[in-house]
Structure formats: C-alpha cells, structure tokens
C-alpha cells in the first residue's frame, strides 16, 4: 500500500481552497444567522493567500505543506477561525514531522493533533456547537477505520463522512463557545459555520486521496 505523499497534501490544500471559494457565500450566510457573517470571507481570504504562497514556493513534504497552511491562515484569516484552524494545521504538521509518506496511522495522528490543537486554543468540548463537533467525530471515525485496517484514502473518507454528519448534528444545539453562544436558545436550528467549513476541508482531504 502506498502512503499519502506531498502531492496529496498539495492536492488537499488546493481542494480546500477551491471548495471554500465555492462555498464562501454559504459559509458567511451560516455565520450571519448565529455569528457575524464573515466566516466564508475569512477562510476564503486565508486559502487564497495559501494558494499564492504554494505557487511561490511549494514545500517538499506533507508536513511542510501543512505548516505553510498553518502560518498563512494565522497571518491572514483573523477572527476566531484563523488562530483555531491555524493551530490545527500547525499541530498536524508537528504530528507528521518530516515524513514523506503517510500511512493510515499517520493520518489518524495528523487528524488527532489537528483536533487537539483546536481544543488547546479554543477550549471547546464536543457539543459546544463549534468546529470541534466536526473534527472530533472525524478523528474517531478515522481511528476506527485505521484500526480496521483501512487504507489512508478510506480513513479520510470515513473522517469526512463523520465530519459532515457532525456538522449537521450541530443544528439542534445551543452554543457554548464563539459568537453563537451569545444567542442562547436562538442558535437552535442553525448549523455552525466552522463545523461546516471543517467538514468541507476534510472532504477535500479525502478526495485528494481518492
């Protein structure tokens, strides 16, 4: 079995940039319902900057790609999602180190580190109606798939499926973190934009591996 390479990482990031661009207005609209309406704009600004940097000097390892995404998101996104997602990619980069090929275990480690990075910065628990509610089921599903001996592509596909379900599952929740927490009961019935955008990125990861 062939592990995931730098090409996969590059394809993932380009895929994320494309899908965030496509769903920019939709993500901002979700954020308008229970936040301040900028989430799509924020991520799109960040991933456009990532693309520009990738084109300028493409890194040579998956970890290098993830680190470039991390630093670029941190320095261009702002808001809550910038430091949170930035930290996710930074910790993910740390988890894969200098590896040039990632097997299923490495993919799980990557996802786990990313999720832990978000928790480290944002202190959200599952059920708080944040991006954690996409990342945590994704990590669990990925771990189960890897445990079951699945290849990296299938591990990522399981993660993406779980993240999407996790994003949908934020709808009935009251929020306990982020701007949506200001709304109390009024947040019920709306999907968390950060969970949605996280699911989009994980789907891009799976498709890049497929």
């Amino acid at each position: 079995m062939a592990g995931l390479t730098t090409d996969w990482a590059l394809a993932w990031v380009r895929g994320s940039a494309a899908v965030v661009g496509e769903h920019r207005a939709e993500l901002s609209a979700l954020d308008r319902e229970i936040g301040d309406g900028d989430h799509g704009e924020n991520l799109d600004r960040g991933f456009k900057a990532v693309l520009a940097k990738l084109d300028a000097a493409p890194p040579s390892t998956p970890g290098g790609v993830l680190k470039l995404v991390a630093t670029t998101l941190i320095s261009t996104v702002g808001g809550a999602s910038g430091p949170l997602l930035g930290t996710a990619y930074l910790k993910a980069a740390g988890a894969v180190g200098d590896a040039t090929e990632l097997d299923s275990a490495a993919v799980v480690a990557l996802l786990t580190a990313a999720r832990d990075g978000v928790v480290l910065r944002g202190k959200a628990a599952p059920g708080d109606k944040t991006m954690i509610d996409a990342w945590t089921p994704a990590v669990d599903a990925a771990a189960a798939a890897a445990e079951a001996g699945e290849e990296p592509a299938a591990v990522l596909a399981a993660a993406a499926d779980a993240a999407e379900q996790g994003a949908v599952a934020t709808e009935p929740l009251v929020a306990h973190k982020g701007r949506a927490s200001y709304l109390g009961e009024r947040a019920i019935g709306h999907r968390d934009p950060g969970a949605q955008s996280s699911a989009l990125q994980l789907r891009a990861a799976a498709e890049a591996a497929a």
Binding site: D36, D38, E41, G78, A80, G82, P83, R179, Y182, L183
Partner: protein
C-alpha cells in the same frame, strides 16, 4: 447596496488612507499590514497602549490614538479581528522600554490573535500585559458562553488607562487601572436596524419596520430578544436596568453615563436617550458626574445605541478629565 465606498474589498484600506490624510501630524498610518500609530511613538519610558479589533466600529480604535490615550490601533477586516502580525508590529512600534498594554475586547478571535501576538512579542523581549474588556451585560458571563462581549466600555478603559500611562504609571499600574475600569463598567445595546456589511451587501439580520432587537452586539449579531418598538423610555429601561443590576450601581454612586450611537443613529436621538437615562438614574439617586454622548463604538450603519455606565472613583475622574488629543476625543490640549 448603496455606500460611500470604492469596493467592498478595499473598504478598510481606503478608510485608512483617509485617516492618514485627515490626521497628519497626529498619526502615522501604515498600510500593509494596517497599523495606526501615534506620530511621536515610541515614547521613551512610557507604557505603550495598543488596542485593535475588526473594522466597522469607527472611530474605535484608530480615532483614539494620540496623546493621553492609545499609542497604536490595529484594524482588522470589517468585523474580523486582526491577525497577530500587525498586532506584533504595533506592539514593537510603541514600546518605549516600559512595556506595552494590550486592550482587547472579549471575542474569541480578538483574544486568540492578541494572545499569539503577545507570545511573539515576549519572544522578542517586549513586555506585554493584556486586559480583556467585557462590559456587555446582554451576554451572561458563564462557563457556557464565550463570556461577556467587549463593547462601548472599551473607550472608557482606553481613555483612563491612557491617561495613567501618560502621567508615567508603570505597566502593572496601567494594567491595574484598566482592569479596575473594566470591573466597574457595564453596557447594553439596542438595534433598530441591522448593519450592512460591505462584502455581504445585505443586512446582517432581517427586522421589520416596527421591531427592535435588544441586547445586540457590535457585529450585526442578533441580540437576545426581539420586541415591538416602544417609546424611548421603555427601551432605555430595558437597557439600563440590567446594567444597573449587574454591578450593581446603587444610590449615591457617582457615574459616567455614556450614550453611544451605533453609526446610523443621529445625535438628536442620542440626546433623547441621554435624557431618558438621566431620568431613570435620577430616580435611583445615582449621580451623573461625567458624560459622553456620540457615536464612538459603531456597527457600520446600524441604527441603535448602547448605554454604558462606569462607577467612578476620584482617581478615575481625574484620569478621565486629564488632557487627551486624538481624532475622536479631545480636550485640555
């Protein structure tokens, strides 16, 4: 969408260019990354004050850069906290060797980005203290929220801490007075309309011609509760009572009453709000020792206002009265 803008993408940069032109001599404005710095910064031996946050709240924060108030302001994209890089840049630009105070409104994004900048500054041997402002009583401060938001009270923190820095207080003392102001200030706001964010082009929430939104923030977030419009006294009571109860403010307190416009509400209405608030305070024997009326912490073109009360002690009064020379607040110089 009709706005006096060039392009939704360049709103912040274009406004900064205007700020630079209009306040030459007072400010240095850097375009990329965007930072507004007091013309004479850094001041040797003076604690530097840096604040910042999303744009769309003008004159906050750039309008408060100058003698006796902020040393630098870091404007993010509209309603989006700035990233760490410009915060770091501003921090270094105003460090006169006595350290820098970050005044941060309590939003997850602002807190995280300032936190990162402070870490980076520490790595470059700049001493940074952070004060998080969270004066908005519309949001319950509990384990189950992101905590109270920082809103109009921020101006009072910046003015009073700025005066303390200007008189030569050290970093710990400036941070302490900033925290004391934050502990004694409470705010709550109402929206009659929603702001239109330039890149969105449509109102941030839908609201009918006869409804108002109580307990809103300054980013077009919906509020706690939507009610039918009612005359000003009822609206003011809905804002002021939670404010009064929260601290609580009590009989014979000396307060600063700050009626703040949200950007689309004219001054004539703010004075009517002031009158209504003054009547309620009079009923409770709370004494308005200082006052501020105007649009200082806005939410783009949103119509509405917020009411802020600060319980004053003698030191705060003296620091409030101390000279200030900024684009938006100026006296004594």
């Amino acid at each position: 969408m009709k706005k006096l803008i060039r392009d939704p993408q360049t709103v912040v940069a274009d406004a900064l260019a205007g700020v630079a032109q209009a306040h030459q001599g007072l400010l240095r404005v850097q375009a990329d990354p965007p930072v507004i710095v007091r013309a004479d910064a850094p001041l040797r031996g003076k604690v530097g004050l840096v604040s910042g946050g999303g744009s769309g709240h003008e004159p906050l924060h750039g309008g408060f850069v100058g003698y006796g108030m902020l040393d630098a302001a870091v404007p993010g994209a509209v309603f989006t906290s700035p990233t760490p890089d410009p915060i770091l840049e501003a921090t270094k630009a105003v460090d006169g060797g006595a350290g820098v105070l970050h005044i941060v409104k309590n939003y997850t994004g602002d807190v995280l980005n300032f936190e990162t900048a402070a870490d980076l500054a520490a790595a470059e041997d700049v001493q940074v203290e952070t004060v998080v402002v969270d004066d908005d009583v519309a949001v319950k401060d509990s384990l189950y929220t992101a905590g109270r938001r920082g809103v109009a009270g921020t101006v009072l923190v910046e003015k009073i801490a700025g005066a303390a820095a200007e008189r030569g207080d050290d970093l710990a003392s400036v941070a302490a007075i900033a925290r004391r102001v934050n502990e004694n200030v409470r705010s709550m706001g109402v929206a009659l309309t929603a702001p239109i964010v330039p890149h969105a082009g449509t109102p941030s929430f839908d609201i009918s011609d006869h409804e108002i939104e109580i307990g809103i923030g300054i980013h077009g977030e919906p509020g706690r509760e939507r009610i039918e419009w009612e005359p000003v006294d009822g609206i003011v009571r809905r804002l002021l009572e939670p404010v009064l109860e929260d601290l609580p403010f009590t009989s014979s307190d000396d307060v600063l009453l700050f009626v703040n416009g949200m950007g689309g509400t004219p001054l004539i209405e703010l004075y009517i709000v002031f009158d209504a608030a003054a009547q309620l305070l009079g009923d409770r024997n709370i004494h308005i020792a200082r006052s501020l009326v105007g649009s200082y912490v806005t939410s783009l073109d949103m119509q509405g206002c917020s009411i802020t009360l600060l319980k004053l002690d003698d030191e705060m009064k003296a620091l409030w009265d101390a000279p200030v020379q900024t684009a938006a607040l100026r006296w004594g110089r």
